[in-house]
């Protein structure tokens, strides 16, 4: 039994900030390592999308697909990355939505705004993150990172890195 009062919100915030920093700095090995083995990275293609199975998604990646994307991000002949992708994001409004009694998995919602340099031009993205974080030893592992873009169903440019 994990009581909500036992969850250290400061620790959760630090975890989310660290994850954002890994992505902004392109520290992908460190980022991949934040996920549980069965962890999922999911960016729905429709607002309020119920699940990643009965509708297409902008991203729906397990460990293998995340690793594959990272390998491509580092590939010498990833031509579309010759104009480098750089990102800067800020997140806030961190809200603990719930804690699972049995597993202690915390469901955390936050809001993000993000700038990304792509094809030499600046893109803006924004929306909400929903993290399901599983407590381990002295930290957490990501069971699910869901990214709801406010423009998920609008015309989008190519997206190459992670949101």
């Amino acid at each position: 039994m994990v009581a909500r009062a036992q969850v250290d919100l400061g620790e959760i915030e630090q975890f989310l900030f660290k994850e954002a920093m890994y992505l902004d700095r392109g520290l992908y090995d460190e980022w991949l390592d934040l996920f549980a083995d069965d962890g999922l990275y999911w960016v729905p293609a429709a607002p309020e999308q119920e699940d990643p199975y009965n509708h297409v998604s902008l991203y729906f990646e397990d460990k293998i697909l995340r690793q594959m994307r990272v390998r491509r991000l580092r590939h010498e002949q990833a031509f579309s990355l010759q104009s480098p992708v750089r990102a800067s994001r800020i997140l806030g409004n961190v809200l603990l939505e719930g804690v699972d009694d049995d597993s202690g998995v915390c469901r955390v919602r936050s809001t993000f705004h993000m700038l990304e340099l792509q094809f030499g031009e600046q893109q803006t993205y924004g929306g909400s993150y929903t993290h399901e974080l599983m407590p381990v030893a002295d930290s957490y592992k990501i069971k699910l990172k869901r990214v709801d873009l406010i423009n998920c169903d609008a015309p989008l440019d190519i997206m190459q890195a992670f949101l």
């Binding site: 509708h55 297409v56 902008l58 697909l65 491509r72 579309s80 094809f119 440019d157």
Partner: protein, 440 residues
């Protein structure tokens, strides 16, 4: 109707083995294309499953003209120009919905679902003036021709021209196949599409669909990423289906040369199947059983071994038969194109079959696709590179003179021939130069 360029000027832009860069760069040419090609050809607009009941509607565009696809009271599907006959405002603001009539938000002009003008507030104010509100021109003028093939709805802004089936020609077999793969004989659209903006002329997207010389070059980063991932899988772990889909782009020129690409009239084409080993995925095996119970082994085999994986219906759709998805190519501007990707569920098939379709779409057609990113980069570079004044003509010479005439159409010999591009421009020139031209 006045055009920017004369037939002679268009003929000067297209040779049998090359095209002038202005076909991609010149905004006047683009404006003429919208009228002469998208203003006449049969264009895919929707699937019947998106407007199942009377009053159901969705909005889309034919060329750059906004339209509403709506199921009228008599159950027929109408395609209406989405503009009010008064000041031209787009009448329908929602992407989709259901309505008994359409009322303009500006001055309240109201239209029936066949586009006819039903009501005008203070109608008497027009008495004694020269406007005739009964003139159909003041309605949401419908596309004069709408046709449906196996649930796929097409419309044409031209009152006259080839019948839909004549226009589709051999590509009807691909539309048949996508529907026949459903045990119930029909498919339905699932949810919304991917919408991807590209910074290039619309024709570059179409050309790439049959360009079999590019995969091993353009896609090397995603191909090798998948190969590395496969090599490092734990012993005994079966690679996920995404891996072979990406690594197949790296196959040799010999393989691509052997693919059968059939080019048909009106600029269409059919491309041979890529992956044809017997599918051992349990979901697929269960599905094949369901299909066999309906049709017996012979017909089932015929459906599942249909030889074309991709069909292009020029100028606006590409259809993937074995993964049930459809790409719609919307020209936005001379250097901007919107690609929509719709996915379909096979009615009567086990639910797992949609998951295969969905995972293929996520991998290959999502804006985040690690494969497509490099295609889009290539199109953008071509569009930018053509601004260079020292190169006026774009070569389409590869394997000229080796095409093989068959009953279905002209076959590219070998598969990597630039015949498909030459075939597109043959249709393009017919649309652009002939008064009654319909791309034939």
């Amino acid at each position: 109707m006045a055009f920017n360029k004369t037939p002679k000027e268009f003929r000067d832009l297209v040779r049998p083995d090359r095209v002038h860069r202005d076909v991609y760069l010149d905004r006047e040419v683009f404006r003429d294309e919208l009228r002469r090609i998208h203003g006449r050809a049969w264009l895919y607009v929707a699937h019947e499953s998106q407007v199942p009941s009377a009053g159901d509607f969705m909005t889309t565009a034919m060329g750059v003209t906004p339209v509403v696809v709506v199921r009228h009271k008599d159950a027929s599907i109408r395609v209406l120009r989405n503009r009010c006959g008064h000041k031209g405002a787009a009448v329908v603001g929602k992407r989709c919905g259901s309505a008994k009539s359409f009322r303009c938000m500006y001055h309240g002009w109201t239209y029936d679902t066949d586009g006819s003008l039903q009501a005008v507030p203070q109608r008497k104010a027009y008495d004694g003036t020269e406007i005739d509100l009964n003139d159909p021109a003041h309605g949401m003028t419908p596309a004069p021709r709408v046709g449906t093939y196996r649930g796929f709805v097409f419309a044409s802004f031209a009152a006259e021209g080839p019948e839909l089936e004549t226009f589709l020609g051999p590509t009807t077999t691909a539309l048949d196949n996508i529907a026949d793969r459903a045990p119930d004989g029909e498919v339905e659209v699932v949810g919304g599409p991917f919408r991807l903006i590209q910074r290039n002329n619309w024709k570059m997207v179409i050309e790439n669909l049959n360009d079999l010389m590019h995969p091993m070059v353009v896609h090397i980063s995603s191909t090798e990423a998948a190969e590395q991932e496969e090599a490092e899988l734990p012993e005994g772990q079966k690679p996920p289906p995404e891996i072979p889909l990406l690594t197949s782009n790296g196959w040799s020129y010999d393989f691509w040369n052997g693919l059968r690409v059939v080019c048909c009239e009106y600029g269409h084409s059919l491309m041979g199947a890529i992956n044809t080993p017997p599918d051992t995925d349990p979901v697929f095996v269960e599905y094949a059983d369901v299909l066999e119970k309906r049709h017996g082994p012979h017909r089932t085999d015929e459906i599942l071994s249909y030889p074309s994986v991709m069909a292009l219906v020029y100028p606006n759709i590409s259809l993937h038969t074995s993964y049930q998805q459809l790409r719609v190519i919307h020209p936005i501007d001379v250097d901007r194109t919107l690609l929509e990707v719709w996915t379909f569920r096979l009615k009567g098939a086990p639910e797992g079959m949609y998951r295969r379709c969905r995972s293929y779409a996520n991998l290959v057609n999502s804006p985040s696709s690690i494969g497509n990113a490099d295609d889009v980069e290539a199109f953008m570079r071509v569009h930018r590179g053509l601004e260079n004044d020292t190169m006026e003509w774009i070569s389409q010479h590869r394997n000229v003179g080796q095409d093989q005439q068959t009953n279905e159409g002209v076959v590219a010999v070998p598969g990597t021939s630039e015949l498909p591009m030459r075939n597109h421009f043959k249709a393009w020139l017919a649309y652009m130069t002939e008064e009654q031209g319909n791309g034939r």
